[in-house]
Symmetry: C2
Subunit: 327 residues, 2 copies
């Protein structure tokens, strides 16, 4: 019997999960839950859609729920709520609030004998794992995380809120000389400005003051003022043609040394290059949904993160097969 | 109290473990066991050296043993033997024999209530983990492992056995165009010759037939005949000056796709660049020695591989700290 999966929230991430489940042999998508009128939501492969308020009716019909809402407003409420009844996985990515989210999910999941794996994706997620692995094997070293080239939704949204802007897309770009300095084991101390560039493509209203918009972007606190930012004004047509994708990626480095006088240098580099940020994130979520199911079957409950999950739980193959073919 | 570590076998790897333990705050090296006369073995930081036959006297004085012998003759015998009495970690890397090694260690360790983590290092080890992670999150894809640029001890030894050769060093070098094809998601099917070059630096006896040596190298079955190989004859002085290090490294790629028609491509790339192969391997061994100790304290016994170990066990920090600082 296949692992029965439900999705909560059907946006880019939910759709990505639908694709990703389709790529597995041991899982099936049984339900999509939405706050919208279910009749208005059409899934790609015709998974049935239900109102989110009916989810409890599926308590015994689903093995794991993948939470596909946003970290700002949805997940802090939904994940602890659903963890009272289901095994869940989410991609909660507000770093500063992870400890309290963990505690909320832990209490709910433990009470229910369910498991909740939080903050799954690539950062937090695979990148976190690389940071931990790097520190474990090269304790005498430094780690560096770079993001991009990729679209930052938060920064794109911030530009859209500026008066006179119709639409915008912001790319975060790691600075090549900084990457090289890290690779050369120079252990640089890098400011925000030295690590990433911000490149903006903006569609302005007709007659808008372009200089004013550009200045507002470049001086925006927290978002842009600490970076070198370039602004290109383009037509809506060009934006739709060349900037509608959601690519992303990045790098995690761990550099360290060994030997009697630390004379030998070592570089670990993990790099992602993703055509679709939400679809890749979905693939990670689905692997950890499998882990949630398998671990809960072994009697494990409570809140977990990527640090708590042994790799074998992520795959459907037997342990013997993994040792024989992948070790 | 610190985790009390013993080393079995004091060559390059044993010395690397000595360095690596020194870089931790929660572990101490308490004993080095050797088959040689202990009085002839001097450790770098003056760890005490004992004859290997006295190891059982340390049953209650050591928390974990790191096995630093060779995979061909030492580990198949020593690891199951010592797993009857100690938690152990080894770097057994004869891929074809891993299943039987696993079974031998599992039987011994389970009987003793100890844990034995085998095949730890970077390949097998971190590279195995990357292959498994890649398959888990991009099931619809391919993986590729490349080694180098680095010294292959086995190939260097093979050259040294040729008549007329005094010393030799062989570098395995990944072919750049193959790496690029993989990065471009072209999903190439690559032969051995298309993946790696072999570059040899050879010191010949005076008067030896260099053409004959070069030909013997290039046509050597299994080792060289399936590769493009270059041979450089150099002086012993040059070999000692420029080729005495033991650098290595390599790449694991997972490429895959997502979306309704698999139109979005994703590339995961993990790269290692190591000045010292044995010293980096030692760092991995020490992290998993910590995991062996911590897991055994939780009551876990039997044989484990990197697929069985949750990342949190590799670090000395608390789970709360990891979530707060690395997630």
């Amino acid at each position: 019997m296949k692992i029965r999966v439900g999705i909560v929230g059907y946006g880019n991430l939910g759709r990505g999960v639908e694709y990703a489940v389709k790529n597995t042999e041991d899982m099936e998508l049984c339900a999509v839950f939405t706050r919208r009128n279910p009749e208005t939501v059409k899934t790609v492969f015709n998974a049935p859609v239900y109102n989110i308020n009916t989810a409890l009716n599926f308590k015994d019909k689903l093995d794991v729920l993948i939470m596909c809402g946003g970290s700002a407003n949805d997940l802090p409420v939904q994940t602890p709520e659903f963890a009272q009844h289901f095994n869940i996985v989410d991609s909660f990515d507000t770093h500063a609030k992870i400890p309290s989210h963990f505690n909320n999910v832990d209490a709910a999941a433990k009470k229910a004998g369910k498991i909740g794996i939080i903050s799954i994706g690539w950062d937090p997620g695979l990148f976190s794992l690389m940071r931990a692995l790097g520190k474990a094997v090269l304790p005498n070293g430094n780690d560096y995380t770079f993001w991009g080239k990729g679209v930052s939704q938060g920064h794109s949204d911030a530009i859209r809120r500026i008066d006179g802007v119709l639409d915008a897309r912001q790319y975060t770009i790691p600075i090549e000389s900084a990457l090289q300095s890290v690779r050369n084991c120079e252990n640089p101390t890098l400011t925000a400005r030295e690590k990433h560039l911000r490149e903006c493509f903006v569609v302005a209203k007709e007659g808008a003051d372009l200089n004013k918009i550009e200045n507002e972007i470049k001086t925006m606190p927290n978002y842009f003022d600490e970076y070198n930012t370039t602004v290109h004004f383009i037509s809506m047509e060009e934006l739709n043609k060349n900037h509608k994708g959601i690519p992303h990626g990045g790098f995690v480095f761990r550099t360290g040394s060994s030997g009697k006088d630390n004379e030998n240098k070592h570089v670990m580099e993990f790099k992602l290059k993703l055509d679709s940020n939400p679809e890749f994130t979905s693939g990670v979520l689905v692997a950890f949904a499998r882990a949630a199911y398998k671990l809960n079957k072994e009697g494990v409950s409570g809140c977990k993160t990527i640090f708590d999950i042994a790799p074998k739980y992520l795959l459907s193959e037997s342990e013997e097969f993994l040792r024989k073919t992948m070790l």
